[in-house]
């Protein structure tokens, strides 16, 4: 007893300041992330402000019905998941690729410049992005219709009325906007790799390509797995700005641009029912949570070291 007490004391003395520093973060987490969770009950209630949140009647799963009852249920689920899978895979390949290329640039100033330029789109608001895209694709005045297509001898395309092009446009916009940020994270991981590995590899006559495949990628794989798992956790969420603003909310494009978040937004614009909207949020986080557990389980089966938890 005394012995363990002593050990606890020693531990505390050693890590005390660290625990102390943890407190604000923990309080923040509790207030911001755990306290509001009681609001999840709203998803199962028929909210009446006069009765209050606790006093409102329980109505079971009725709030969830509208998500599954419509003919669009399949469409929005498919769109949400496929887009996110595409974003995760393509985003990963592009970000890692660019990070490796950036790492190879030996000129300090140029490398800094490229880094800044690449992260710039990440900082632009989606509303502005939507107008940048509009400047490209506008029927009358767009750059593509006015300059590029005529130069190639093609007819102008009515972009905002043709759903078939939008999977490519949206993936492109998302990668253009998001890759820079992920790339910086990977670049940090790459810079952290001990240069001795590369020196040894060069002595053994390994080519650049071999070095990348056998040293860089395996060594940053924990970071890749972590970011991918986090991405999978949000697979049922979609970037509202990207799917609502960028296609200019054009009805003709809904077949390829309608996702869960935009569906919920459009459906509840007039109703303003917080029970139904929290039902949607609850459903999304539940599926995300299960998917994270599942994919983490798979990663742990393959390689215990790389699992998140």
């Amino acid at each position: 007893m005394n012995h363990s007490h002593n050990r606890f004391g020693r531990k505390l003395r050693k890590f005390g300041p660290l625990y102390l520093m943890m407190i604000p973060g923990l309080i923040y987490l509790a207030i911001n992330n755990y306290l509001p969770m009681f609001g999840l009950s709203i998803a199962f209630k028929d909210i009446n402000y006069r009765k209050g949140i606790w006093g409102s009647d329980w109505i079971g799963l009725k709030n969830f019905e509208y998500l599954f009852k419509t003919s669009d249920a399949y469409l929005i689920t498919r769109n949400t998941i496929l887009y996110n899978v595409a974003f995760i895979i393509i985003g990963l390949v592009v970000a890692v690729g660019v990070a490796i290329l950036l790492n190879e640039i030996k000129n300090k100033i140029a490398s800094r410049l490229y880094q800044s330029l690449i992260i710039l789109p990440f900082l632009i608001s989606m509303v502005l992005v939507s107008y940048l895209v509009y400047a490209m694709l506008s029927i009358d005045n767009g750059f593509v219709n006015k300059t590029i297509l005529p130069a190639l001898g093609l007819d102008p395309i009515s972009w905002y009325n043709e759903p078939k092009y939008w999977p490519y446009i949206l993936v492109f916009v998302n990668v253009w906007k998001g890759a820079g940020y992920a790339c910086i994270v990977y670049l940090a991981a790459i810079i952290g790799i001990d240069p001795e590995y590369y020196e040894a590899a060069t002595l053994d006559g390994a080519s650049k390509w071999q070095q990348i495949r056998k040293i860089t990628i395996p060594l940053i794989s924990p970071v890749i797995i972590m970011l991918t798992l986090l991405g999978i956790g949000r697979i049922f969420y979609s970037d509202f700005g990207l799917f609502y603003q960028v296609p200019m909310n054009s009805g003709a494009l809904f077949d390829t641009t309608n996702v869960i978040d935009t569906y919920v937004f459009r459906g509840l614009m007039q109703l303003g029912d917080i029970g139904m909207s929290s039902a949607a949020g609850f459903y999304q986080s539940l599926v995300g949570f299960i998917l994270v557990l599942l994919s983490n389980y798979i990663v742990r089966k393959i390689n215990r070291e790389n699992a998140l938890f």
Binding site: L12, N48, R50, Y66, N161, M248, A252, F254, N258, M269
Partner: protein, 506 residues
């Protein structure tokens, strides 16, 4: 051992300090807020009423002065003061919702028809019938009973419509320069056929000029030419404002099919803005940039003058559909007392002043006399020397919001008889048979969300004429059916029948 204990206590103390700092901070601000409230009350009995309303743009810098002036009047007349709380339109929905949910002090607020029945269903508003009897006689005498009753839900009035243009007529507003150039007499434009003829003439042989533009961002051409009572939302409507009270699916009617067919023909002929379905530029900017000639929208007396100002050039209006009053047109802007109110009696009394006290109304509408406006002749006002719209300290220009607009002054440039004409307009307007019916969407929420989605998908392209209705309309209708529109219409019909029975409407 001792040292480790010290460590633990240090940790504990710091935690407590942090926690207590948080809580004491909270107490402090609450304390000072209540103190400030107390000091602004000269007599003990006087109450302070919080009054929330939406505004466009920034808060006018003279808001405080206006509030002080109003308080001088209210202090004397109803022994209460008001705290004006302007909220930007973009934040309005969210902020008021938050205030209502968190039980923040709020005594009087603007209520919009689109959220009205929902707010009542959620129990956010106080029933006002008895209140109006006791404290609101001014409202009752100013507002025609038919129009006050239009705001009834289950036999109770929960909000009072402001007195402004209570009916709606639809028409087309055209640029005067192009009318003159082509020798067109606006008075001859009375039907869609006439409009088509004018558009053809104005377009001439200019392939790039598309004369007709949307009446507002996101508003379809069909919404600028309404021949039915939308019964709140256009999901299930009453054609010709009567139809023997039989609710029908708008999108299945022959009128709708004909209209969108015509729009598609116009679109193909190049009469309609090419990217009308995704347009995000206001009608004013399009007109100013010479990208259009006319737009169809709802109108009212004095509309020409107002829109000419906004467009920066003379415009001429032609009426296509005579004025009709529907529940939507009457209840679009109202005032209600939220359940959060600490003193509904005083809140109603202040609302009463908004409908009967010329001074209070003009303070809210135009600001302080001599500072923000000067009287020209009887009932007509203008900016004082050296003041204009750009540097005025109070230029909300939202008379339609603050109670009884007919008691406000007319601004220089508008018709001095504007309010007489507007009153005439309201009185002469045809009243929809379903005036006063408000649909409660609660029983069909699930279908409503699904149908709303289908409508947002198809409405803009089909009603702007940019897609071929022969192909798209059947698809649209079948999707509406599978989303459950028939169930909503059935529910609406049932509620309408019950309403008709309760109000003995034949």
């Amino acid at each position: 051992m001792k040292k480790s204990l010290m460590g633990v206590s240090a940790l504990l103390i710091s935690t407590m300090l942090f926690a207590s700092a948080c809580s004491s901070g909270g107490n402090d601000s609450a304390g000072s807020a209540s103190n400030a409230g107390a000091s602004s009350k000269p007599t003990e009995k006087s109450v302070e009423l919080t009054v929330a309303f939406p505004i466009f743009g920034a808060v006018p810098k003279d808001m405080q002065v206006v509030q002080d002036e109003i308080n001088k009047i209210t202090q004397e007349k109803i022994n209460a003061t008001v705290k004006l709380m302007p909220i930007g339109f973009g934040d309005w929905q969210q902020q008021t919702n938050l205030m209502l949910t968190s039980n923040e002090k709020l005594d009087l607020m603007a209520v919009f028809g689109t959220s009205y029945s929902n707010m009542v269903a959620k129990g956010q508003l106080v029933p006002l019938d008895e209140q109006l009897e006791e404290n609101g006689q001014g409202i009752k005498s100013a507002l025609e009973p038919d129009y006050l009753n239009a705001a009834k839900i289950n036999g109770n009035v929960y909000a009072v419509p402001t007195i402004r243009d209570l009916a709606v007529d639809y028409g087309i507003l055209m640029r005067k320069d192009l009318l003159d150039k082509n020798n067109i007499d606006a008075a001859s434009v009375k039907t869609l056929d006439d409009v088509e003829r004018v558009l053809k003439t104005v377009k001439g042989s200019d392939a790039n000029f598309t004369p007709l533009i949307p009446g507002a961002v996101g508003m379809t051409l069909r919404e600028g030419y309404v021949v039915y009572d939308d019964l709140g939302d256009s999901i299930g409507v009453l054609p010709d404002f009567d139809n023997g009270l039989k609710v029908v699916n708008l999108y299945e009617t022959q009128e709708y099919a004909d209209f969108v067919k015509r729009m598609h023909n116009w679109y193909k002929a190049g009469y309609i803005l090419k990217d009308a379905a995704t347009n995000k530029t206001t009608q004013f900017d399009l007109i100013k940039a010479n990208k259009g000639f006319a737009y169809m929208s709802r109108q009212k007396p004095g509309f020409e003058t107002v829109e000419s100002k906004s467009n920066g050039q003379p415009m001429v209006a032609a009426e296509l559909l005579p004025p009709v009053a529907t529940t939507s047109s009457v209840t679009s802007i109202m005032w209600g007392v939220p359940v959060n109110s600490v003193n509904p009696d005083k809140a109603t009394a202040f609302l009463n002043l908004l409908f009967s006290d010329k001074d209070v109304i003009n303070l809210l509408d135009w600001g302080v006399e001599g500072k923000d406006y000067v009287k020209k002749s009887d009932g007509v006002i203008d900016f004082p020397e050296g003041v204009d719209a750009s540097n005025s300290g109070y230029n909300l220009n939202m008379g339609w919001l603050f109670g009884n607009q007919f008691l406000s002054y007319v601004f220089n440039g508008d018709d001095p008889d504007l309010w007489t004409k507007m009153d005439e307009f309201n009185k002469s307007a045809r009243k929809s048979k379903a005036l006063g019916f408000i649909f409660d969407v609660t029983p069909v929420k699930t279908e409503y969300a699904a149908v709303s989605n289908v409508i947002t998908q198809y409405k803009l392209p089909i009603e702007m004429g940019s897609v071929d209705p022969d192909k798209i309309l059947p698809e649209f209708i079948s999707k509406l059916k599978s989303a459950g529109i028939d169930k909503i219409i059935a529910a609406k019909q049932q509620q309408l029948n019950e309403w008709a029975k309760a109000n003995s409407v034949q």
